[in-house]
Amino acid sequence: MAISKVGEVILNLRKRRDWTVKELIERLAEKKQSVSAGYITRIEQYGEVPSPEFICALADIFHVDAKKLLSAAKEQKLEQVDRNLEERYQKALGFYRAQKRR
């Protein structure tokens, strides 16, 4: 279980330097990572896990250790996949039981 989500960490890092989302996108463009504003919104607000290359670029820009961010992102991604699979298996079981009853 990740202690704090990757999105919250990135939001805090951005807020500490008083950057808007557009400034962050410009600095990422300098590092040759062109992203849309919607991607950053989904990372910060909806808990989407960014790709490892993106995390490395962010660690470069914010001058933090990339290893911690990557391990937190990996944990969060594994947890999401786990939950997703669990839901799908439960749903399939529910359908199977409902069909058997008929």
């Binding site: 808007t20 849309s36 504003a37 910060e44 607000q45």
Partner: protein, 256 residues
């Protein structure tokens, strides 16, 4: 006494929403108006959050106020929009979209209530609610796009005419249907229903109110538009309740 907040002009609200929509169109890479398919979640992700950094929270039940359910609340200090979980995005209730846009309107237009002290009475609250409604309408159902869709699908340039109860002919995309209409509100809703899918799937009531306000339906009967939760009476009662609370807090502010 603190001064009154200067009212937002509808033109300035329109310019704000145009900025947001152009940001969105640029982010999506659209060049022609025929490609526009509006989705409020996308608009929030691509245009509203990068510009205004508004947070949405849908997990706090908001309760009741003056016998009506409170569907949304905007907290300017935290830049947060709260939506009641009963109409959250997952439920598929259409009222969610207009409520969310209304709260965005509050947060964007009335942001200076965090650092400026304005007089708060029922008139200013009425004005604020009207401005937020205008913002939501201009964001979700922009006039230029609405005109284009009506012209493309209804093929009309002149407005509709309502003469009272009876059978009416509606032509959509060349297909004609005869529908028995009971009231003016139902007429507006029948006109508005096929258009909602082009405008973020907003509720038919919101679209009907927009068309009624624009004056595209000539009303030759004595009926008026009867909305559901947006009645003037409800608005007045909520305004009075908030005024009482605001009077207490403004006293505290003047004493400190």
């Amino acid at each position: 006494m603190s001064p009154r907040r200067p009212a937002w002009r509808p033109k300035d609200i329109f310019y704000l929403t145009e900025e947001i929509l152009t940001d969105y169109a640029l982010a999506k890479g659209w060049t022609e108006p025929n490609q526009y398919v509006f989705n409020l979640k996308d608009i929030y992700e691509e245009a509203i959050y990068p510009r205004y950094e508004i947070i949405i929270r849908e997990d706090i039940p908001l309760g009741w106020q003056q016998r009506t359910k409170l569907l949304g609340k905007a907290i300017c200090r935290e830049n947060t929009a709260l939506i009641d979980p009963s109409i959250a995005a997952t439920t598929g209730d259409n009222r969610y979209i207009f409520t969310l846009a209304h709260e965005f309107g509050h947060l964007i237009l009335h942001k200076d209530s965090t650092y400026k002290c304005y007089q708060m009475d029922s008139r200013t609250i009425f004005q604020q609610e009207k401005e937020a409604n205008l913002f939501a309408e201009a964001l979700l159902m922009p006039l230029w796009h609405l005109k284009r869709r009506v012209k493309d699908h209804y093929g009309l340039k002149c407005p509709w005419r309502y003469m009272g109860r009876g059978k009416y002919c509606f032509t959509w995309n060349g297909i004609t249907k005869i529908i028995f209409v009971v009231s003016y509100t139902q007429f507006c809703q029948t006109v508005a229903a096929p258009l909602t899918r082009y405008f973020c799937n907003v509720s038919t009531m919101a679209m009907a109110l927009r068309i009624h306000k624009l004056g595209w339906i000539l009303n030759r009967s004595a009926e008026t538009f009867m909305g559901t939760a947006t009645d003037a009476a409800n608005l007045m009662s909520t305004a009075l309740a908030v005024t009482k609370k605001a009077a207490i807090t403004s006293d505290q502010l003047t004493h400190t």
